[in-house]
Amino acid sequence: MTLRPGLILAFIVLAFLPYDPLADVGAMAADLGAGPGHWLGTDHLGRDILARTRVGGRIVVLSGGLAMLVAGGLGVGLGALAGWFGGLPAAALRALGGGLSAIPSLVLVVLACLAFGGGPLTLAIGCGFASVPAVAEAVAGRLDALRREEFVVAARGHGIGNARIFLWHLLWVNTRRLVARELGVTLTLLVVTEVTVAYLGAFGVPEPTVSWGNMLDHALRSGCANPWSWGAPALATAATVWATAPAEEPT
C-alpha cells in the first residue's frame, strides 16, 4: 500500500498535538470503559487511552526518523563506496556488514540498551545500525550492476563529470525507491523492537514518555480491566507495520 503523503502528515500532526502524560494521571478515573470523557476509556492509572495511542506516534516519528537517518546515511554511504569502487572496499563492506547483520537485530538493540541504558535514543540508533548492512548491500548491489551499463559509459563520453553521474544518475534516479523500501523495513524493525523490549524487561522506553510498547506491557501486566488498554496500542502497532511494509517489490 503506497503511503499517501497526506496520511503521513496527518499521523505526524496528530502525534504532536499537545498532551501532558503526567497531568492525565488520576486514580479516581482508573480503568473506565469507553465513555463520554474518554472515547477508548482509561488505563489502570486513569490516563486517557486514545490520547496516549495518538501521542505514541511520536516515538515512531522521532526514533523511527532517527533510525532511518542512521540506516540511510551510513547505509547509502558505505553501499555507494563499495558499489562504485568494488574490489577491496566491497570485500571490507561485506565483512563489516556481514558481521553486523549476523547478529540478530533484537540482540544488537538489547546489548546497546544494556551498554548505554534503554530509551528512545538508544533504540533508534540500535535499530539504525542493525539496518545499515541491508541498505548498504542493496545500494552496492544496484550500483555494481549499473556501473557497467552503457548509459553510464555513454554519459562519460558526453563529458559529464564522474561526480554528477554518480550523484544524480546512479544514486538518486536508480536507488531511491530501493532505499525507501529498506528504510520502511527499518521503521518496522523499530516499532516491533520497541514493543518486544518493553514486554521483555528493563530496557524499553521509560515512563512517562508515551509509547505503544509501554502501554501494551502495562495493560497486560495489570490484568485486563479495559480491553482497549491493550487493544489500542496493538492495533496502532499493526497498522504502522502493515503500512510501512510495501506491498510490491519496487523495480
Binding site: 497531568a23 489502570h44 492509572l45 528493563a202 515512563e207
Partner: protein, 501 residues
C-alpha cells in the same frame, strides 16, 4: 556434557500425583549450595535439602536439629556440640563432626568467596574432638550461641578440600541431610526433590517440584488451574480471585518489609534537611499506595506492628504550604509554579528497581504529583545489576524508590548506622549511632524497645527517607495440602509435617 542434563531432555509430562507438591518461584536458584545461596528462592530450597545444627520449632523457638546436645563453657567463650547419631547424608554417608568443621572453614575461607561468610564471622575456631563432637571458640562472649547456629551443614566428602568453587561437581548433585534430596535439574529450570527415606522423622509429601514462573500474572492462575499447589507470595490484585475460590486457602504471614523514597544525602540539594522535609510534604502517599494494594502507612524504619515502632511519630501528610516554607528555608525560590535554585529550575533523577512489583505505577504517580507541585522528576528503571552498581557503589541518583525486607529481629543497623554496609543514602547521625549500638548490646527488652523507638523518632526527624508503607503478604495453598504450618521467613521449615490428600 554433565550427566544430569541429558536425561532431562526426555521431559516426561509432570502429572499431578497425590504426593507431588508443586510451588512457583519467580526465578529458580542458579546454585543449590548454602554457602553461596542468599536470595529468598535459594533460602527456601536450602530449607528442603540441607539442615543446620539448630532450627526453629513450630513455636519459632530455637530447637536442636543436627545437634543432639550442647554445653557452653562457663566463660561463655566456647561451646561443645554433640551431633545426633541417626543422621545420614542423601548419599548414605554418616554425618560426622568433620562435616561441621569443614562447613565453617569453607565459609570463612577467602578463596571460596562465600557470600554467606557473615553467618560464621563470630566463630574464632572450630575443632572436631571426635566423630560426633565439635568444639567452637567464639570471638566474643555469647549468651545463646544456639540462636546463631542455623547455617546449613555441607558434606566434607562431597568436595575435594578447600577452597570450594562454584563450579565444583557438587552443583550437579547437591547432597544434604534434609527431608528431601535433589533428584533432578529439569530442562525448563524446574527442580524435582524426592523424599529422603533415611531422614530422622516422617516426611508427609513424597515429591516437591520447584517451577520457575517468571511472569507473575500466571502464578495465581496456575494455582486456580490446579497446576500448582503452593504460591509463596500472592499479588494484592489476585487476592479477590483466590479468596473466592474454595479450592485455595490464603495464609497471611508477617514480613517486616517497607517501601521508602530515599534521598541521596551526598548531593548538595538533598543534603539539606529542610529541602528533604519539604519534598516529603509535597507527596500524597495514600494516592501512591492506591494502585499497589492494601497496606499501612509508616512514619519510620519499622512496620507499625513492630515492638520498635514509635506511634507518637506521625507519618508525613501532604501539606503544600508547610512544604513551601520548608523548601524556601532550604534555599529554593518559587518562581511562578516551578521551584528554582540559583535561578535554575529543579530537576531530580529518581532510580527504581524493575524487579519490585508495581514500582512503575508508584513512580508515575510520584512524577505526576511532583510535576504539579513544580518540580521535574525523571525516573530511571534499573535491572538488578545496574541497580547494584548505580545505587550500592556509585550512589549515582538524587531520589531512590525501593523496599527493604527484615527478618524477625528488624535489625536496621546496616541501613542507618554511619558504618552500615547498606547505608547507601549516606545517613550519618552520631546520636542514632549511639542508640543503635546501645540497642544491640541491651539485655533488657524494655531498654532495647525504648532505645529503638527513640532512634525511630530521630531518623524520622532527619528524614533521610520518606517512609512510605508496608504491604500485607499472603501465601496461597491448595486445600489438598493438609496440616500446613508456614515459617514466616524460610517458608518450608515445617514442610515435613505437611501431607497431601
Amino acid at each position: 556434557m554433565h550427566r544430569l542434563l541429558l536425561p532431562a531432555l526426555l521431559l516426561l509430562p509432570l502429572i499431578a500425583e497425590a504426593g507431588n507438591l508443586r510451588f512457583a518461584e519467580d526465578q529458580a536458584p542458579a546454585l543449590v549450595n548454602p554457602i553461596y545461596g542468599s536470595t529468598m528462592a535459594e533460602a527456601r530450597v536450602n530449607e528442603l535439602v540441607f539442615e543446620g545444627l539448630y532450627t526453629d520449632d513450630t513455636e519459632l523457638a530455637t530447637t536442636p536439629a543436627l545437634a543432639e546436645s550442647s554445653r557452653i563453657a562457663d566463660d561463655k567463650l566456647s561451646m561443645e556440640v554433640t551431633l545426633r547419631s541417626d543422621v545420614a547424608w542423601h548419599d548414605g554417608q554418616p554425618l560426622t563432626a568433620d562435616d561441621v568443621v569443614f562447613t565453617i572453614k569453607a565459609m570463612q575461607d577467602r578463596a571460596t568467596a562465600s557470600t554467606e561468610s557473615g553467618r560464621v564471622a563470630w566463630i574464632a575456631d572450630a575443632v572436631a574432638l571426635d566423630a560426633r563432637t565439635v568444639k567452637l571458640t567464639f570471638v566474643r562472649m555469647e549468651a545463646r550461641p544456639e540462636d546463631k547456629l542455623f547455617f546449613k551443614i555441607l558434606p566434607k566428602h562431597a568436595f575435594n578440600g578447600l577452597p570450594v568453587r562454584r563450579s565444583d561437581t557438587f552443583r550437579t548433585k547437591p547432597v544434604g541431610t534434609g527431608p528431601w534430596r535433589l533428584a533432578l535439574f529439569n530442562e525448563d529450570n524446574s527442580i524435582t526433590f524426592k523424599k529422603h527415606d533415611g531422614w530422622r522423622d516422617a516426611v508427609g509429601i513424597d515429591e516437591v517440584t520447584l517451577r520457575e514462573v517468571a511472569d507473575k500474572n500466571y502464578q495465581a492462575k496456575l494455582v486456580l488451574y490446579e497446576s500448582l499447589e503452593a504460591l509463596v507470595r500472592v499479588l494484592p490484585r489476585d487476592l479477590a480471585m483466590l479468596q473466592n475460590n474454595r479450592k485455595v486457602e490464603l495464609y497471611p504471614y508477617q514480613t517486616n518489609s517497607w517501601w521508602y523514597l530515599g534521598y541521596n544525602l551526598n548531593r548538595p540539594l538533598t543534603a539539606n534537611a529542610s529541602v528533604r522535609r519539604g519534598l516529603s510534604e509535597l507527596v500524597d502517599v495514600d494516592a501512591l499506595l492506591a494502585p499497589v494494594g492494601t497496606g499501612a502507612r509508616i512514619s519510620g524504619p519499622f512496620v507499625p506492628s513492630s515492638p520498635y515502632y514509635n506511634h507518637d511519630v506521625e507519618p508525613t501528610v501532604a501539606d503544600a504550604d508547610e512544604a513551601a516554607t520548608q523548601l524556601t528555608a532550604g534555599g529554593l525560590v518559587q518562581d511562578g509554579d516551578t521551584w528554582k535554585k540559583d535561578g535554575r529550575a529543579i530537576t531530580l533523577t529518581a532510580v527504581a528497581p524493575t524487579s519490585l512489583e508495581s514500582v512503575q505505577e508508584v513512580a508515575i504517580n510520584l512524577q505526576s504529583q511532583l510535576q504539579s507541585a513544580g518540580i521535574k522528576l525523571d525516573v530511571q528503571f534499573l535491572d538488578d545489576a545496574t541497580w547494584k552498581q548505580r545505587v550500592w557503589r556509585d550512589h549515582d541518583y538524587d531520589l531512590l524508590l525501593g523496599q527493604w525486607t527484615f527478618d524477625r529481629n528488624e535489625d536496621i543497623r546496616e541501613q542507618f548506622h554511619s558504618l552500615g554496609t547498606r547505608n547507601f543514602v549516606g545517613y550519618k547521625n552520631p546520636a542514632v549511632d549511639a542508640l543503635l549500638d546501645k540497642a544491640r548490646d541491651a539485655t533488657d527488652p524494655y531498654v532495647r524497645k525504648a532505645t529503638l523507638r527513640e532512634a525511630h523518632k530521630l531518623i524520622a526527624a532527619d528524614q533521610p527517607m520518606l517512609f512510605l508503607w508496608t504491604l500485607d503478604s499472603y501465601a496461597a495453598m491448595s486445600v489438598r495440602v493438609k496440616n500446613v504450618l508456614i515459617h514466616p521467613f524460610y517458608f518450608f521449615t515445617f514442610a515435613p509435617k505437611w501431607t497431601m490428600k
